[in-house]
């Protein structure tokens, strides 16, 4: 007797690929494309993308940092000011719409207002609010730094061989005035929320899909050989503005991102999907991959993701002798605007 499942590989079957496996050995990657050790790898996306940035540096691959800060700052100051956290100092890019906006701003395709927020006596760049921990001293300083930054962003898009993009959210806040998308709601870190000027938006799966196609085409229009690795952040929403439970919003948001990523990975050549979300949320982990807040990812979970990533995308380029350990430090900190919402809750201001 025959049936269609008869000759399928083990990874098709839950029992063989998940149930019987020790959690660290679960490997859902089926498609990969080796990254050459000399290729320039840039990263952007949500907080979780920072783990990928760090790991690529640790294993000695060519992590491309176009906006390095030069010799102006000490190492501690560089970290504080988010130099090297991503390939340019754009901070967390939670939605694909935000990534398109970054591209358009960098190449002067779309014009936005200044979008500068006040924070006490200083000023915050609303497109990347936490870049300067205390804000900029003056608007002029901010605009000057923004110009330098956008030049570096152009460099990232033009010169990268790979962009690793971690899709984080579908919910965002938008300016009613010029359509600018913010990484965090006005008023949480600088600025002030105003219903006449700001609106909530939750991108549908169709929106995300359209935006992904637009983003990929824009990137390829100036860098035709660019390879893109998409992944979805496993970190749940810190808060939802939809009138529904945050758990439901998280599930729907991640589902939309996963579906859109899957579709474009099938549509476009050299656009690959990497299953970070699946590795971290797999039931085999029994929650061990989440911190006690059940949101942040533990070093064990990050270690698993990076192991699988290295095995499929990086390892063939590294000699065994030089392969550094990818065990992630317990103290690895991630800069996350979304986390500000949780901090506000803890401080009693929400």
């Amino acid at each position: 007797m025959t049936h269609p499942y008869k000759d399928l590989s083990d990874y098709h079957f839950w029992l063989k690929a998940v149930t019987y496996k020790v959690s660290g050995a679960i490997d859902p990657v089926i498609t990969s494309l080796p990254i050459n050790k000399f290729e320039k790898i840039s990263t952007m996306g949500s907080c979780f993308a920072q783990h990928l940035s760090r790991s690529i540096q640790e294993v000695g691959f060519n992590y491309y940092v176009a906006e390095s800060g030069g010799a102006n700052y000490s190492e501690a100051e560089m970290v504080k000011r988010s130099f090297g956290v991503f390939s340019a100092r754009y901070g967390n890019i939670y939605t694909i719409k935000q990534a398109i906006q970054l591209f358009d701003r960098a190449f002067d395709i779309d014009k936005f207002n200044e979008n500068i927020w006040s924070l006490g006596s200083s000023y915050v760049d609303s497109f990347r609010p936490r870049i300067e921990p205390l804000g900029f001293a003056s608007k002029e300083d901010l605009l000057q730094d923004r110009n330098i930054h956008l030049k570096c962003v152009r460099d990232v898009f033009i010169n990268s061989d790979w962009i690793i993009f971690t899709l984080g959210l579908t919910e965002a806040w938008r300016s009613k005035v010029d359509g600018a998308i913010y990484p965090i709601a006005p008023g949480v870190f600088g600025g002030e929320f105003n219903e006449l000027e700001h609106e909530f938006i939750n991108f549908s799966v169709f929106d995300v899909l359209d935006d992904l196609r637009i983003f990929i085409n824009k990137c390829r229009s100036i860098n035709k050989n660019l390879k893109i690795l998409l992944t979805v952040s496993p970190v749940p929403l810190a808060a939802t503005y939809e009138n529904r439970h945050v758990l439901s919003s998280t599930a729907l948001s991640k589902a939309a991102l996963l579906i859109a990523a899957d579709i474009v990975a099938k549509e476009f050549e050299n656009v690959i999907y990497f299953p970070s979300y699946e590795i971290i949320t797999c039931p085999a982990n029994e929650g061990r991959y989440f911190e006690d807040d059940l949101r942040q990812v533990t070093s064990i979970g990050v270690g698993h993701v990076m192991n699988i990533f290295s095995n499929h995308f990086l390892s063939s380029n590294i000699s065994g002798e030089n392969m550094p350990c990818t065990v992630i430090s317990e103290k690895s900190e991630v800069i996350c605007e979304e986390e500000l919402i949780n901090n506000a809750i803890k401080l009693g201001s929400i």
């Binding site: 020790v22 959690s23 660290g24 679960i26 085999a284 064990i300 065994g320 392969m323 350990c325």
Partner: protein, 287 residues
């Protein structure tokens, strides 16, 4: 009230505690399995078994029991997956075991090779673990444990799977290669309890027992833990003493070997390590 004897290795106490939790009205008597040549202890066991209703045991000395006594064989839980670097070792021509039974294979090799602590510490790396096959121990360890369930204890495939899938969910379930954590003893105890009396529903309820095997805890090395998806560290607990870090562990181990006046030539891992073990470490030292 039934009298139930429990005879196993160092798992005896924990297993008896689980059964006491499930059958509070019965007399549960832990009696560690004696060496067959220890006539005094065997006689004591024989005496205890005379009025026993059931005997949970790792050894089938069935000549000791009357026909009416229910014998339930239990496997000794041995699992190398978390601790592939542990080995037993012989320390002299008489082939006596090292006083502390657990040895690090790498430390032992380094001691025999005459390395300093500092040089030996350099061998505890991801690359070396990978080359020594430490990342591939899991599946073989599962097979080994399964054989213990099926062949040593005559348990069913279903018994084994129920045990394995349940304990695996908790992450690490072993303090050392043969010292299970309470969750593993509880799952084994549940299987045994069902064989004693499958009508009681307490078997499926939460069970809590004290952890009596915490004097010695071997860490899951972080690089190995990463492969398994569990937490790892380099913190040993040896006979109640905590040792932090590979360097301190090696200092402790080398001093311990010296205190035992172990001639490196006579220090031998048991079972013998495969040839490639020596080749991997030698090539690393030479490079």
């Amino acid at each position: 009230m039934k009298k139930i004897l429990v005879s196993s290795n160092c798992q005896t106490g924990g297993l008896a505690a689980v059964l006491k939790y499930i059958f509070p009205g019965d007399q549960i008597l832990p009696f560690a399995a004696p060496d067959i040549k220890d006539f005094t202890r065997v006689a004591q066991l024989h005496s205890e078994l005379e009025d026993a209703d059931a005997w949970i045991t790792t050894n089938t000395y069935d000549f000791l029991v009357k026909d009416s006594t229910q014998i339930i064989l239990t496997p000794r839980i041995t699992f190398f997956g978390f601790h592939p670097d542990i080995t037993y070792a012989r320390r002299n021509p008489n082939r006596s075991k090292t006083l502390f039974h657990y040895n690090s294979k790498i430390a032992l090799w380094a001691y025999k090779r005459g390395l300093t602590v500092n040089d030996a510490a350099l061998l505890y790396t991801k690359n070396i673990y990978q080359s020594l096959g430490y990342f591939d121990f899991w599946d073989n360890s599962v097979d080994y444990l399964k054989k213990r369930f099926l062949h040593e204890a005559g348990m069913s495939q279903s018994d084994f799977l129920g045990f394995y899938l349940s304990v695996k969910r908790g992450g690490n379930f072993m303090h050392t290669i043969n010292h299970p954590m309470p969750l593993a003893l509880i799952e084994l105890g549940r299987i045994i309890a069902r064989k004693l009396d499958d009508s009681i529903d307490i078997v499926n309820r939460p069970i809590s027992i004290p952890d009596t095997l915490i004097q010695t805890i071997w860490p899951i090395y972080p690089e190995i833990a990463e492969q398994l998806g569990v937490a790892g560290s380099y913190i040993w607990k040896i006979n109640g003493i905590s040792i932090h870090g590979v360097h301190d562990f090696l200092t402790y181990t080398f001093n311990d070997y010296k205190d035992q006046k172990i001639n490196p030539a006579y220090l031998e891992p048991e079972p013998t390590l495969p040839d490639f073990f020596n080749e991997v470490l030698e090539s690393y030292i030479k490079s």
